[in-house]
Symmetry: C2
Amino acid sequence: MFKEALETAVNGTGGYAALLMDFEGIPLESYLGQESPFDIEVVGAEISVLVKQIQRAAEMLEAGGTEEVSFKSEQMTTLVRVINQDYFAAMTLSPQGNAGRGRFELRMLASKVRDELS
Amino acid sequence: MFKEALETAVNGTGGYAALLMDFEGIPLESYLGQESPFDIEVVGAEISVLVKQIQRAAEMLEAGGTEEVSFKSEQMTTLVRVINQDYFAAMTLSPQGNAGRGRFELRMLASKVRDELS
């Protein structure tokens, strides 16, 4: 069920890979699409640290809960959707990939898996 | 010149505010559009810390230089465009704001001010 939802999101976007992970950096499930130069679980572990720092900054600014984060670097775009206080979904794609479509797919994915992860 | 470029970006997006800042957290120029519950310079200072952490993670992953970052929280969307190793531009907008347009405006802004800031 998780694998299928990740597969739908990656294939709908043409992304490298996607995963569900908890904020301790423990992967729950991942799906690899096209050949990627990056290990999605290593990327996910970095994200888990960064998103916690972003959440703390948003709380400090009284901007409310963090819902989405994205990072675009020269070699990779990374999209993150917070599912609940314990889990997030993330997808990596090439810098030329369709990030707008990726954000849409991650929102769909999050609404599909939220009940199972609460 | 910087103020005018920031004004164009904010008004083209309908954002709250935008600024140019260095990675030490020192604001170079800012422009306030519509009434905002957030102080753009306080937001900028938080961004300067977060983007440095994101840059370090991207380097560790060998994903190259960081170009764009965005954070969406319940009360505010924050868009960041790295201009060069010393400066970045950031814009805040409401969560219902047009982030796609905001990213476009920040890219235009960055190309306008890059020569002056190098």
